[in-house]
Amino acid sequence: MMLDARRRFLSALFVAACGLSVVLALVPLGLILFFVIGSGVQALNLEFFTALPKPVGEPGGGMLNAFVGTLILTGLASLMAIPAGVLSGIYMSEYAGTRLATATRFAADTLNGVPSIVIGIFAYGIAVLPFRQFSALAGGLALGIMMVPIIARTTEEMLLLVPAAMREGALALGATRARAVFTVIVPAALPGIVTGAVLALARIAGETAPLLFTSFNNRFFSTDLRQPISSVTVQVFTYAISPYEDWRRQAWAGALVLVSFVLACSVLARLVTARIQRGWA
């Protein structure tokens, strides 16, 4: 009887500890969101989105160049990464047993685990050094490299969920393998593939380290791909470590925009995933 009580007590303690960990994790989340929203909203106005940065020390100004820069960088990255990621994902699912598929899977997972700063160094070596200048292209390359493994693995996963009967049906009608894949299987898995791309996009839009020495930064408005370009993340970093109060407030505003974007993408991804799961059930 004593033993039972002790065991029950331990169990209750354990359950309480687990519940406490949940609270412990949610507290920082709450604090971060609280501060980001609280401090960021103050500096959020029309000027923030439409104006260029003012010279050092002068109050006001905005992050227009940074927003455009991030748009361009993520656009470049997507252009490079989506075809490469989707096609290698198709290979991994269509030829799943082969050595190349296993190697690709391993490589994709490895690439996922490489610190983003290291990818930045790589992009620096092959896209900045030879041309002796920082550029949007180099930044896009770094971000693209980070997107590829995410897109490849989600594409593979989504394609494997499509029932094999679909492929058989298409082949029995005289489709070649390529036709069956591109006209039946990929369209069937498309919502999931797109979700993967959206999540990858959300992840790289928030990256700073790989841009520090590839796309660098640019105080002025620029859309030239071969010149350094501003980005929301690098701009937030620059403002955050500066001593100017006004810049720091704008840093919070920039952070708020980033978090809102990431939140929107997460919600979208969840909604689509839920619909997919209902569809297959």
Binding site: A165, M166, E168, G169, L171, A172, G174, A175, T176, A188
Partner: protein, 275 residues
């Protein structure tokens, strides 16, 4: 070890059906066919002929190889790793396993309907049009629509879907989806239609409609149907082949198989002594 008789039996007309003239040349001629997955022998030295404009049923207990044999006729077994074929399968005199044969073209001529209906997640129209599009069989938009309508009519589905061709195929009932898959297969005008237990996943009413359809289709096509339901085979087919453990045990006119089979094994199976 039993093989089919090599003489050409004359199909007798069933009551109420349109009599057709005696068949001459076999549409599909299988000789000494064995099939392996890796080291496993799934089919053992099968020889028979399949005639045009009749319904031939393959029956036998589960795992006897009837579906595997069906799939050798349109080379769908090619996608299984380690698949190996010995012997010949002649379609109108030409060996479909000869090196250099265009499998894609073969599958146009020998169509297939699967056990579990597998419509594509597209509209009803697009499902039927799929085969036409990839095989470039329709010139204009109106020709395409015409052929789709034809196929749906042949599959006895047109009246039920003609007002909602753009709806998703997945919204149809099980029986309707299966008829859609039949329409999809018919759209590319195959010579032979292979049906792998087409009604096994359906309720009795839907099953009856499929059976009526199969009976009607033989006017135009060579129909080969795999079924585990002996009564279905007796109702619907003109010829029946009985398989057991990868071997062809007996092949004859359906009425003979079910009333006076030559082999004891066949008799035991059709009288239900083993399933």
């Amino acid at each position: 070890m039993m093989t089919a008789t090599t003489s050409v039996p004359v199909p007798t007309a069933r009551s109420g059906s349109v009599p057709h003239e005696p068949v001459g040349r076999a549409r599909i001629d299988v000789r000494g066919l064995s099939f392996f997955y890796g080291v496993t022998r799934a089919l053992d030295d099968i020889t028979l002929q399949l005639y045009p404009n009749v319904v031939t049923a393959f029956i036998g207990p589960s795992g006897c190889g009837k579906s595997t044999f069906l799939r050798t006729l349109n080379r769908m077994n090619d996608i299984i790793p380690g698949a190996r074929v010995q012997g010949t399968v002649l379609l109108d005199g030409e060996d479909i396993y000869r090196a250099g044969v265009d499998v894609v073209a073969l599958r146009r001529r020998v169509g297939m309907v699967f056990q579990k209906s597998n419509p594509f997640p597209k509209s009803i129209f697009e499902n039927v049009a799929y085969g036409l599009r990839i095989n470039r069989m329709a010139g204009s938009r109106s020709e395409l629509a015409g052929r789709v309508e034809d196929s749906l009519k042949q599959a006895a589905l047109w009246d039920e879907v003609k007002d909602r061709l753009q709806d998703s195929a997945l919204a149809l009932s099980g029986g309707q989806q299966q008829r859609l898959c039949i329409a999809r297969a018919l759209a590319i005008q195959p010579d032979v239609l292979l049906m792998d237990e087409p009604a096994s996943a359906l309720d009795p009413i839907a099953t009856q409609r499929i059976e009526e359809l199969v009976y009607a289709l033989k006017q135009t096509y060579t129909v080969i149907i795999v079924t585990h339901n002996m009564q279905q085979a007796a109702r619907v087919s003109d010829f029946t082949a009985f398989f057991w453990l990868g071997r062809l045990v007996e092949y004859d006119r359906t009425d003979r198989i079910f009333t006076a089979p030559a082999e004891k094994l066949t008799e035991d199976y059709v009288t239900g002594r083993f399933g």
